[in-house]
């Protein structure tokens, strides 16, 4: 059953959530961009352009303590969070990314650090006319616990989980019966067809190595493409000894770095910039298709925005299609 919410209902929902959860909502930052932050710690900015910091960073942060080893060799786990986490204000690509990471981290053998966080979290989508200048964001569907779809005069609430249903229970039913009544999503976004075309070119081996060298020559190795990518999950492990106690953390890593796969012997299966550039694109467009049956790029555009030299996913895909398509 769909629910109908007015703006004040939405604010009431936020208050309810804040009581039960560590509620993370879109906040406006000093430079005008939006990012998830704790409810009440900054200016709420429910609608607007894509959240700059990928929301997956709250489930899989840039640096995360895994464990501590005491001088006697005994091991301590980090304290679990006091409250479960609620991520509020996610759009379709954000939720697709979380679904992607869920499948990746939870498949056997499961990463129980991620699992602990994820099982203890609630996802709330915010779609419909909730984009920049009320731009239309296609509904997210069942990748979340509940979704609020902005309409011309309020919000339409759809619950997809028991927790979502409980949260929406206090609100009146909507006249609309089906979510699809307001779903204006085009059959397939143009971005998806571009990615598919590029994926096909790669699988058909139509992209020569010289292309990767040419793109690699323009890469300044900032690693930003990996770090902003909501489906990138590579990490390295670092130890720091503080007062005799070893803190072992994991830190986001980047396959664009030479040392990413370099072995102690010096041997490196990804030993050239061209190979690493190829991997960045190939992994999302081919390897992920092989492994998971779908392209690993959720087409959010973050890597294209953060790449200082204009060789993010879509820039490369377009060049690839222009040259070899």
């Amino acid at each position: 059953m769909l629910k109908s919410l007015k703006r004040e209902d939405l604010l009431r929902l936020l208050e309810t959530l804040a009581e039960q959860y560590d509620l993370q909502v879109p906040l406006k930052l000093p430079d005008g961009t939006r990012q998830l932050g704790r409810y009440g710690s900054g200016e709420l900015s429910l609608c607007g352009p894509l959240l700059q910091r990928k929301p997956t960073s709250l489930l899989f942060p840039q640096a995360e303590l895994l464990l501590s080893i005491n001088p006697d060799g005994s091991v301590e786990q980090p304290h679990p969070a006091e409250k479960p986490l609620a991520l509020f204000g996610l759009e379709r690509s954000d939720l697709a990314a979380i679904a992607f990471l869920d499948r990746f981290f939870l498949c056997e053998p499961a990463d129980d650090i991620y699992q602990g966080k994820r099982e203890n979290s609630l996802l709330i989508g915010l779609t419909g006319f909730a984009g920049e200048n009320s731009a239309y964001l296609p509904p997210a569907g069942e990748n979340c616990d509940l979704e609020l779809i902005a309409t011309a005069d309020g919000w339409l609430g759809c619950a997809y989980s028991a927790a979502g249903k409980t949260l929406l229970a206090p609100f009146p039913d909507s006249e609309a019966k089906e979510r699809t009544e307001i779903d204006q999503r085009a059959a397939e976004p143009k971005t998806d067809s571009l990615l598919k075309a590029a994926s096909r070119l790669l699988r058909e081996d139509k992209v020569p190595d010289a292309f990767w060298q040419e793109i690699a020559d323009r890469c300044i190795l900032c690693t930003g493409c990996n770090l902003v990518c909501p489906t990138c999950s590579c990490f390295c492990v670092q130890d720091r000894i503080r007062d005799g106690k070893t803190e072992r953390s994991r830190v986001w890593d980047s396959c664009q770095l030479d040392a990413f796969m370099r072995e102690a012997s010096g041997h490196n299966p990804l030993g050239t910039e061209a190979l690493r550039t190829r991997r960045r694109i190939h992994h999302k467009l081919v390897a992920d298709v092989e492994r998971w049956g779908e392209i690993g790029c959720i087409a959010c555009g973050r890597c294209d925005r953060t790449c200082p030299t204009g060789i993010g996913m879509f820039a490369v895909v377009e060049e690839m299609i222009n040259q070899f398509g």
Partner: protein, 676 residues
């Protein structure tokens, strides 16, 4: 998660990012500022990892005093009293000029201002300097003479409007990555790219023309280009006539620099010199970008003069997409210069020898001030080695690794009667200190920093300093108070108010006004919007001056015993003496070992294979490091970054100084290589 907007602590580009911290106050990551004009949501690898060293367990957290030969924990009162008493005693016994103060291009404007005030007003000496001496002192000297201002003339946004970028002696994509990427973008949209660098740097792969001139031959190359421009009639006659002086003397000097003569010095083909001249001069708007490859020579000032001459000759000054653009290395090396952490000027380049300037500062600070200009840092190290300088206070610098001829630096630091070091990590220099004071890093304090495009912007506190560590400005205030000077500043904003009152180019700057994306100086009053481009219509000095120069060879060139030319500099993943980047996991992992780049031809002749340990020796010292066999360096040259204490490039370098700027010749000396 809390997000604190701040300014990157690495290079002079001045990127802004958010430091993200968790509920325990620990920094967990970085997010670039999406709307900042130079950052635009983008960072380099060091920026993306700028949080990583902050809570490293090696951070200094307690003041230390040397007792029985060992640095031992002390309380602040004891440590500060000892620093003051020792400095004062040395000043009384041997005169104030037996003290030397080294300020830092890593700390804020406010902290630099206070330290030069402490040296001058507190201890009565103009002996204050900082690492600009080692990077752009040649620029400050050269451009002040020709244009009247030693700063980058244009803004980073100018790369979006230029027709040609001439990069000489700057590995921009590695050392100013977000500027390098703008150059690559300019190239992508159709601008021309001319690169003059002996190494095959990334920009060279994209250049319309790449000149691999011999290190140290830049004056000859530039003079050859300028002679050709005159012969082709490509000079801007109106600009020369209306805006410049001393053209005739300059033009006469060029006569002997024929393409063939220049080819002989530079190792280039005569045609390349001619082609470069035409490429540069035929662009309507051309930017010259340079850095250490130009300045770090025993003729660094002449190099800068030649660059300035080239821009003037073609009228590339005072308009968008043009200019003379020295890229400042450190996050606040521009600011440290602006603040007067230099031996000859107060803040705003007001000369200590000028009685009016002296009177102004003396009145404001309420004390007498010394008249004679002080020692440059490079001279001060030499003076310490001979016992003329006896006491030193070093704030956030590490001369043991960063200065030329490490053996001499070591002798100097050992000979000092008293050395106090204020730093965030136990550096190689702190190991010589009598007192070590733990300071705050960029993430733990407020303050302003001035980027290479003269953009004054704020750094903001995102974390607490470790243990008992204090902010640098609070530490300096403690010493100011012990000297009986004003020390009751409540915050850096109050210090900036004092700076603005005394410094015309910062006159309109206050922390309130810096809240947005900062202000570019000169900003003389509270309503002034800042100055993106210098020298429009009129140069700071009035008319721009052509400054005739002659080629002089580097001080030490390869010979039979030391057959290779050693070039030194930085790598992309590390920063200077590595105290921060070698403690940042990903950066350290990428480059964990000291290395020397050697050309494959040379390597095979010497039977050196990749990753092998090799010994490199010069007249001054000897080190071992790993061989990185690479086409990046030309045959006959090797390159060693100076980050690594276990393979310290500066154990080899030559402390031959430019007679005017006092900069050492980091880019040329002679070495020998042997497999270990």
């Amino acid at each position: 998660m809390t997000a604190t907007l701040t300014t990157c602590p690495y290079c002079g580009t001045g990127c802004n990012f958010y430091l993200l911290s968790d509920d325990d106050g620990r920094l967990t990551g970085v997010e670039p500022a999406g709307q900042h004009p130079t950052t635009r949501g983008q960072l380099c690898v060091k920026g993306w990892n700028a949080h990583a060293f902050v809570d490293h367990p090696d951070r200094l957290a307690v003041p230390q005093i040397r007792r029985d030969g060992e640095l031992q924990s002390a309380d602040w009162q004891q440590a500060l009293d000892l620093v003051h008493d020792q400095l004062q005693a040395i000043a009384e016994k041997h005169g104030p000029d037996s003290l030397m103060f080294l300020s830092s291009a890593k700390v804020s404007n406010e902290e630099n201002y206070l330290l030069q005030k402490l040296a001058r007003a507190g201890y009565g000496t103009n002996n204050i300097d900082h690492c600009a001496r080692l990077c752009h002192s040649s620029t400050v000297t050269g451009l002040v003479e020709t244009l009247g201002s030693g700063a980058m003339t244009n803004s980073l946004s100018c790369f979006d409007e230029t027709e040609l970028v001439f990069v000489i002696g700057s590995n921009t994509t590695e050392q100013h990555p977000l500027i390098g990427s703008r150059i690559l973008q300019a190239k992508q949209r159709g601008a021309k790219l001319l690169v003059a660098d002996s190494r095959k740097i990334r920009l060279a792969k994209h250049a319309d023309l790449h000149l691999r001139q011999q290190n140290g031959s830049d004056v000859a190359l530039l003079s050859g280009m300028m002679r050709q421009i005159l012969r082709d009639g490509l000079e801007d006659r109106d600009f020369i006539a209306q805006r410049c002086e001393n053209f005739a003397a300059f033009a006469e000097k060029l006569e002997s620099y024929t393409p063939e003569y220049v080819a002989g010095i530079t190792g280039l083909e005569p045609e390349q010199v001619i082609a470069a001249a035409r490429l540069y001069a035929e662009a309507d708007r051309a930017m010259i970008v340079y850095a250490m490859g130009i300045t770090q020579h025993s003729h660094g000032v002449d190099n800068v003069r030649a660059i300035s001459n080239l821009a003037l000759l073609t009228g590339n000054l005072g308009k968008p997409g043009s200019g003379v653009n020295p890229l400042r290395g450190q996050n606040n090396v521009q600011g440290a210069c602006d603040m007067g952490a230099l031996p000859d000027v107060y803040s705003g380049y007001q000369n200590v020898a000028d009685p009016e300037a002296r009177k102004k500062f003396s009145t404001a600070w309420g004390c007498e001030l010394p008249e004679t200009k002080g020692l440059m840092s490079t001279h001060a190290i030499e003076a310490a080695a001979t016992g003329e300088v006896r006491g030193m206070l070093i704030l956030g610098e590490n001369p043991m690794l960063s200065d030329a001829n490490q053996g001499m630096v070591k002798k100097a630091l050992e000979r000092l009667d008293f050395l106090a070091v204020i730093d965030i990590f136990p550096t190689e220099t702190a190991a010589f200190a009598d007192v070590v004071l733990p300071a705050s890093c960029y993430a733990e304090k407020d303050g302003s920093f001035t980027s290479t495009e003269r953009r004054v912007q704020l750094g903001r506190k995102a974390a607490e300093p470790p243990g008992l560590a204090r902010t640098d400005w609070q530490i300096i205030c403690e010493l100011l108070q012990r000297c009986g000077l004003k020390s009751d500043y409540q915050n850096p904003a109050e210090i900036m108010a004092e700076i603005a009152a005394l410094t015309p180019s910062y006159g309109g700057i206050s922390h309130d006004r810096l809240q947005g994306h900062g202000l570019q100086w000169p900003c003389p009053d509270k309503t002034h919007p800042g100055t993106p481009i210098l020298h429009i219509d009129r140069c700071t000095r009035g008319k721009a001056r052509f400054s005739p120069v002659d080629y002089r060879a580097p001080h030490e060139l390869p010979d039979r015993d030391f057959p290779f030319l050693l070039n030194t500099g930085r790598s992309y993943f590390h920063w200077h003496t590595g105290s921060m980047t070698r403690r940042s996991h990903l950066l350290d992992r990428e480059e964990r070992f000291a290395f020397v780049e050697i050309n494959p031809d040379d390597a095979s002749q010497l039977a050196i294979f990749a990753r092998q340990q090799v010994r490199i020796s010069s007249l001054r010292g000897s080190i071992t490091c790993r061989a990185l066999v690479s086409e990046k360096v030309p045959a006959g040259q090797v390159f060693i970054p100076f980050h690594f204490t276990e393979g310290a490039a500066n154990a080899l370098t030559n402390n031959a100084l430019d007679p005017e700027s006092g900069i050492p010749e980091f880019k040329v000396c002679a070495v020998r290589i042997e497999p270990c």
